[in-house]
Symmetry: C2
Subunit: 413 residues, 2 copies
C-alpha cells in the first residue's frame, strides 16, 4: 500500500520566524529513514479555518498527516477542534486524561487553571497517544486515511513520533517491520572524496543491497554517513548494519571517529581513559572553545584537568613559559603544549595558536593555525591553513582539528 | 491594498530533514516587520508538478509568493521552468547574465560546465534581481499578482529579499514607505515581568502609537524586545525609534544591555575599554565557555588577557592558589577570581564554580553556581541557583550571568 505522509506544523510564531520549525525537519528525517514518502510540509498559523483547510489539503494529497503543535491549554491551541471538524465528530472529555493532568499539577504542588483540562478533550473515534507532558497525542482515523496530532514541544513530539506514529505508518504501508540506522561520524575527508572511497559499497547497494547510504555534511561536526537497513527482524537489521559498518571502516580507516552520539571529544576521552592519561589544553585563537567542548563530554572530569586561555601574548610568555618571539609559530605551539602540561600536571598537553581574523597577524594570513601536541617524550606541531574568512568557523575547525590530531596519535601509539 | 505573501521553499533535502529550512523563518520575520501578512509557508521537493501546484495554490490564497531555492545550475534546479509554466511563457536566455556567469568563472580561473548557463534563463515578462552568486533572482508578474524567486543560499536570498522584494511588497501594499526596527537586548528579567514593566508603553501603542513591540525569548541571549516604527521618511522613523527607546529604558534601566548586534560580552568590552581595564577569567563548570564568548567579540584582544580553565580541583589549588576546601563555595569563587587576576596580571578577575550536573557535588544540588568578581579593592561573590537539569543550559546561563554581574558593577562604579 502506498502511504505518503505530510507534516503540518501549527503556530503563528513559526510564520513570524520567532521560532524555527525544526520539528518538521526532524519528522521528515524519521519518515525518510522509515521509507515513507513525504512530499509536502506546511506551516500555518493559529487560525481555525486555515488549519482545517491545511489538514484537508494534506489529506487530499497523502494518506497520512502528522499535525504538530496547538495541543496546549491556551485559547490559541485549537488543533483538537480543527481535527474534530475534519472528522465531523464532537470532542469529549476523557476522564482518564483529566485524572493524569490533575495528578501532574498536584505532584508539582501547583494550582491548576481550568483551561488545562482542555488537553483532555478527544475527538470521538480518535485514540490517544500516551502523554509525555500534559497533552496526549491523538491518532484520528479519517476514512481509510489518518491524522496524527502531536505537541510542538520537541521531546514530547519526538517520543510520540518515534514510539507510536512511525510504527503505525510502517504497519499501514507494509514496509518491512524493522528499520535500523547508524550514523558513522567522520573527520578529515571531503564529501566528494568520501563518496569516491566508499563507491564500491554504493555500487553494491545499488545492485540490490539491503543497506542505504546518506551523506550529511555537518560543518565542524564533520561529515556524517548514515547507514539504514530494512529487515524482517531486529537481529537481521542489526546484522546488516554491523556487516556494512565493517565494510565501510575497512575502506575509511581512522577517518571514522565514532558512531551516533559520539563526538570527537568523547572519542578522545575513551582513548585517554584506556591509556590512563590526563589532558590539559592551552588555547590562543580558540579562546576556550576546545576546553568547553571537552567539558560537554559527561565524565570528562575523569581525564580532563583544565586549560589556559593565553589570548594575550604576555600570558603565553609569563604563564606558559613560551620564549619571546613570534606567537603564531610552530615553536610557540610546541612550547604552549609543553607549558600547559607542566603547569597543570597533566600527561598530555595540547595547544592551538593562530590567526582567526579579521586581520593577518605577524605576517601570517587569516586561517593559519599551529597545533601543538605534547605526548610522552614527543612534542610536535602541525600547521593548518583553514579556508574562509569567518572568525567563528576558523576557530571551530581549529578546535576539531586539534582533537583529531590527538586522536590519531593515540590510535597510532 | 491587501497584500499577503506566502513562502514556498523548494528542495527534497528540506523534506528529508537533511537541511533545516531557516530561510522561510528569516523571510517570515522580515515580512512581519514590514507589516505584510504571511499565512502559509510550504516546503516541496524537486518535482515539477508538485512545485507548479504549490506555487499555484499559494497564488490562489495570497497576492504574492516568494519561492526560495531551485535556481542553481543542476538538473534538480527546476524553479525557473515551474514559474514559466505558471506564467504560460517560454524561458529565454539572457545575454547579459550569460556574460556575468562567464566572467565569474573566468575570474576564479575555473572551467565552466555548460549547465551553468541555465542560470541565465528567464521567463518572458519577468525581470531579474541582481545576482549575488551566479543565479539572479526573478520578479515574475502573474496577472496582478507576483511570484518572486530567490536562491536558497542564505546570504544571496537575504540580500535580494531585504534589498528588492520587501520594498516591492511595501510599494504594492501601500504600507508607509519606511520601516525601521531596533532590538533592545535585555538580561535579568522574566518575560512576564518585562511585559508588565513596559505595559504603560504597550498601552500607549495600543492607543494608536506608531511603534510596535515584539518580545522574543532567546534562551541565553536573553529576551529581545523589538521596536518597529513605520513612517513616511527615514528621519521620522528613526526619531520614533529613538523616542521610544528612551521611554523603554526609563522603565527598564540597566536590564537593557545593548541593541541589535550587541552581545553581553561586547557591552562589557565597551565598559572595560572606557575605564582602561583588562580582564581575566577563571572557569570551572563553564569550562572555557566564558572565555570563548569573549573571544567572539572583535577587538577583545584590546582588553581580554585570557583565562584559566580550572576543571580539576587540584588546578584550582595549584595554579590559582585557592585554599584547600570545598570548591563549590563563595570562598573558592572569590579566591579563583583573585588568583586568575594575579596570575594573568589583569585589572579585573572573574570566576565561576558550580555544579552543572548530572550529579550533585559537595552536597550542592545541580544548578548551584558561585560567581566571583575581583574589581579594584573589592572581591565579591554571588550565588545562583539555575533551574533545569540540562548541563549545557546551566553552563550557558552561568556564563551570561557572570558577565552581567561584571557589567552591573562597572555601571555602578
Amino acid at each position: 500500500v502506498r502511504v505518503r505522509c505530510e507534516v503540518v506544523a501549527i503556530g503563528t510564531e513559526l510564520l513570524l520566524g520567532q521560532v524555527v520549525d525544526t520539528n518538521s525537519s526532524w519528522i521528515g528525517e524519521r519518515l525518510a529513514e522509515a521509507g515513507i514518502d513525504s512530499h509536502h510540509q506546511t506551516k500555518v498559523g493559529d487560525n481555525h479555518e486555515r488549519i482545517v483547510a491545511a489538514i484537508r489539503l494534506a489529506l487530499d494529497r497523502s494518506e497520512a498527516v502528522i499535525v504538530c503543535g496547538g495541543l496546549g491549554p491556551t485559547q490559541d491551541d485549537i488543533t483538537r477542534e480543527a481535527i474534530a471538524e475534519i472528522m465531523e465528530v464532537d470532542l469529549v472529555r476523557d476522564d482518564e486524561i483529566v485524572a493524569k493532568v490533575e495528578a501532574m499539577f498536584a505532584r508539582r504542588g501547583r494550582p491548576m487553571a481550568a483551561n488545562n483540562l482542555r488537553q483532555a478533550d478527544v475527538p470521538v473515534g480518535a485514540t490517544t497517544i500516551d502523554q509525555i507532558g500534559t497533552a496526549p497525542g491523538l491518532l484520528c482515523p479519517v476514512g481509510d486515511k489518518v491524522v496524527y496530532a502531536v505537541p510542538g514541544v520537541p521531546y514530547e513530539m519526538q517520543e510520540m513520533v518515534a514510539g507510536t506514529i512511525i510504527p503505525d505508518l510502517r504497519r499501514r504501508s507494509g514496509v518491512p517491520a524493522v528499520i535500523k540506522s547508524r550514523v558513522l561520524r567522520t573527520w578529515g575527508m571531503a564529501e566528494s572524496t568520501l563518496a569516491e572511497v566508499v563507491a564500491p559499497r554504493l555500487d553494491a547497494m545499488a545492485d540490490g543491497g539491503a543497506v542505504t547510504y546518506a551523506f550529511l555534511a555537518s560543518g565542524w561536526e564533520g561529515i556524517k554517513l548514515r547507514l539504514t537497513a530494512k529487515a524482517r527482524t531486529v537481529d537481521e537489521a542489526n546484522g546488516l548494519i554491523e556487516a556494512e559498518d565493517a565494510e565501510v571502516r575497512a575502506l575509511l580507516g581512522s577517518v571514522v571517529f565514532g558512531v551516533d552520539d559520539d563526538t570527537m571529544e568523547s572519542a578522545c576521552g575513551v582513548l585517554l581513559e584506556q591509556r590512563g592519561l590526563s589532558l590539559a589544553v592551552a588555547e590562543s585563537m580558540t579562546g576556550g572553545m576546545v576546553a568547553s567542548r571537552i567539558v560537554d563530554v559527561p565524565g570528562s572530569s575523569d581525564w580532563f584537568r583544565g586549560g589556559v586561555v593565553a589570548y594575550d601574548s604576555e600570558v603565553k610568555f609569563d604563564v606558559l613559559g613560551v620564549r619571546r618571539g613570534p606567537v603564531v609559530s610552530a615553536d610557540a605551539a610546541e612550547e604552549m603544549a609543553e607549558g600547559v602540561r607542566r603547569l597543570l600536571k597533566a600527561d598530555v598537553g595540547l595547544s592551538v595558536t593562530g590567526v582567526a581574523g579579521p586581520a593577518e597577524q605577524e605576517g601570517q594570513p587569516v586561517g593559519t593555525a599551529f597545533l601543538g601536541i605534547a605526548l610522552g617524550e614527543s612534542v610536535e606541531s602541525v600547521q593548518l591553513q583553514l579556508g574562509g574568512n569567518d572568525r567563528i568557523r576558523i576557530r571551530q575547525f581549529a578546535t576539531i582539528s586539534l582533537m583529531d590530531q590527538l586522536r590519531q596519535r593515540l590510535l597510532a601509539g
